[in-house]
């Protein structure tokens, strides 16, 4: 376990040197800040627009950071050949993958905290720093766990660019996968219905992590629903990381 943590710590150290991270963080803070001006231009509750935009910016830029850093996470180690001296040490390949994953998750968590602090600074200024928004940000962290695991898995067998496209595709499909359930109900039992069912289960149900509209409008979210989303996110991410480890186990490093 200490070996995994050592790799995670080193991954964190490397990731926080990545300019892309700061660029995306800058954009996120810019978008959070600019919600003040946008709220002046649009009709509707000023507070709700600021909250809605802020929460969306945190999720969007969190996901983009997860994709961009996630797809090159392992690729960089292979490309720069730093992996040669890591996996030849008495370190299991699964330990390596897990360490890389945890290191990036730590980076993204810190990033999320920074964005949240920026967001709450603005909310304090606006007098709208409600604690009820925090669960929405908490679920964003779970979304990032899943998206990072997707990026890691795709990058374990393809190039960073393709992996980024795959991950983005899976992310979008995962936002909309609830509609498969609706479609399924309209179909007669048969092959079409089975296909719907299959994709519903295979695609990440990322919409489960989105309670932004509810917290914005102060609509209560059942605790069971949040709990289910947490369990689902952890299990789904764990499964993806496990598959990534398997795919990595037999790989050649040329």
């Amino acid at each position: 376990m200490d070996k995994t943590l050592a790799i995670a710590a080193n991954t964190f150290r490397e990731a926080i040197r990545d300019r892309v991270l700061y660029l995306l963080l800058g954009f996120a803070l810019l978008m959070i800040g600019s919600s003040i001006f946008l709220s002046l231009l649009t009709v509707g509750s000023r507070e709700k627009i600021i909250i809605d935009l802020g929460l969306s910016a945190i999720s969007l830029f969190g996901v983009l950071s997860a994709i961009f850093l996630g797809v090159s996470l392992v690729f960089k180690e292979i490309d720069k050949r730093t992996i040669y001296t890591i996996v030849t040490k008495p370190v299991g390949r699964a330990q390596f993958i897990l360490g890389k994953y945890l290191g990036l998750v730590l980076t993204l968590s810190v990033n999320l905290v920074v964005m949240t602090l920026g967001f709450y600074a603005l909310l304090l200024y606006e007098g709208a720093a409600h604690a009820r928004l925090l669960p929405a940000i908490g679920l964003t962290l779970l979304e990032l766990l899943v998206v990072t695991a997707l990026a890691l898995l795709f990058s374990s067998f393809s190039t960073p660019i393709l992996s980024a496209l795959f991950t983005l595709g899976a992310y979008l499909a995962g936002q909309l996968s609830w509609s498969l359930r609706l479609l399924q109900d309209r179909l007669d039992p048969g092959i079409g219905r089975a296909v719907c069912e299959f994709f519903y289960w295979v695609l990440p149900n990322l919409w489960r992590f989105n309670i932004r509209a509810e917290v914005t409008h102060a609509v209560p979210v059942p605790l069971a629903e949040v709990g289910l989303a947490v369990v689902y996110g952890l299990a789904y991410a764990a499964l993806l990381v496990f598959i990534a480890c398997l795919s990595f186990e037999r790989r050649d490093f040329t």
Binding site: D2, K3, E14, Y84, T85, V87, K89, V91, T254
Partner: protein, 324 residues
């Protein structure tokens, strides 16, 4: 039991230009015994790196097997007793030498209480103590190579595998690297290293293996491979007219005032001495030319060693061979 036993490994790569695959290793057998230094020699592209990467588990052989301390390479207990320095290594360049080695010590499971001391010891061993806190980004190629050796030795391995360890080092660095390898051997460690530089192998190896055509073309103790036989004798004579010299020789030519005769057989040497005496000349020198590693290397690679070292510009062309 051999420390490392590679038997019959094959490996091919898909080449980008053609649709087919290039077979790089065609059944490589190699055994490293405890406490010996084995040099893996071969021209560029012979497959040395591919062999070593398969040995350390970075590549999976298509056929054949690799046993490290009697265990498969996937066993971390086997890897715990091995150290590896890749060809032209690259490391996390944002870490300082000390941080880098501490990280690797942690990967080897060295207890936190012993880590700092071990890292300091390794830094001293490769002569980097005073530059230990600079980031690797600012290290020269030679310094990276040294810190690379330090990471390979940090777990006090019984087998150290080094891929072209001397490349990119200046003469002082090469000397220090050699000394470290010899010291490892004195301490009973086994070393397997690849090189295309023969002088390194001659200076260090107990045994060499020459890789050619995807196989080990020759393998053995350096002394027995080389002192096999005298390839030819070369005699330098003075005050002798080459035309009147009646010895069955291989070649004869004039070098300044002197005459050089190359003889193939030991019996011809006696005849030559009698002839020189008969003609009233002087035998200046008589040198047996043995097989060198270079002859062996080139010979094993399918070239015939050149018959004669290049003549200096001032030298006269060889005298036509006389019958005799």
């Amino acid at each position: 039991m051999a420390v490392l036993e590679i038997s019959g490994i094959t490996k091919s790569f898909t080449s980008h230009l053609s649709m087919g695959r290039t077979q790089v290793l065609r059944g490589v057998d190699l055994k490293v015994e405890a406490g010996e230094v084995l040099g893996l020699l071969g021209a560029n592209g012979a497959g040395k790196t591919t062999t070593l990467k398969t040995a350390v588990g970075l590549l999976r052989p298509e056929q054949g097997s690799v046993r490290l301390f009697g265990m498969p390479i996937t066993d971390v207990r086997a890897r715990a007793r091995m150290g590896f320095l890749p060809e032209n290594p690259y490391f996390y360049d944002y870490l300082s030498g000390r941080e880098f080695l501490d990280f690797y010590a942690r990967l080897c499971g060295i207890a936190p209480s012993r880590r700092a001391a071990r890292v300091a010891e390794m830094l001293a061993r490769v002569g980097l103590e005073d530059r230990a806190d600079r980031p690797l980004r600012k290290f020269s190629k030679g310094m990276v190579q040294r810190v690379g050796l330090a990471q390979a030795l940090i777990n006090e391995p019984d087998l150290i595998i080094l891929d072209e360890p001397m490349s990119g080092l200046d003469p002082i660095g090469r000397r220090e690297f050699r000394d470290i390898i010899l010291e490892l051997r004195r301490n009973g460690k086994a070393v397997l290293f690849s090189s295309h530089i023969l002088a390194d192998a001659e200076a260090l190896c107990d045994r060499v293996a020459i890789l050619r055509g995807g196989k080990v073309a020759a393998c053995g103790r350096l002394d027995s491979m080389l002192s096999d036989r005298v390839r030819f004798w070369e005699a330098t004579l003075s005050r002798v007219d080459p035309a009147s010299l009646n010895v069955p020789h291989e070649k004869i030519w004039q070098r300044g005032e002197q005459v050089v005769v190359r003889l193939q057989e030991a019996e011809q040497v006696d005849t030559l001495i009698e002839e020189v005496r008969r003609l009233g000349g002087t035998l200046r020198s008589l040198v047996p030319h043995r097989r060198t590693l270079e002859d062996l290397f080139l010979g094993e690679l399918g070239y015939e060693a050149p018959e004669e070292t290049k003549a200096p510009a001032a030298e006269k062309p060889p005298i036509p061979k006389s019958r005799g």
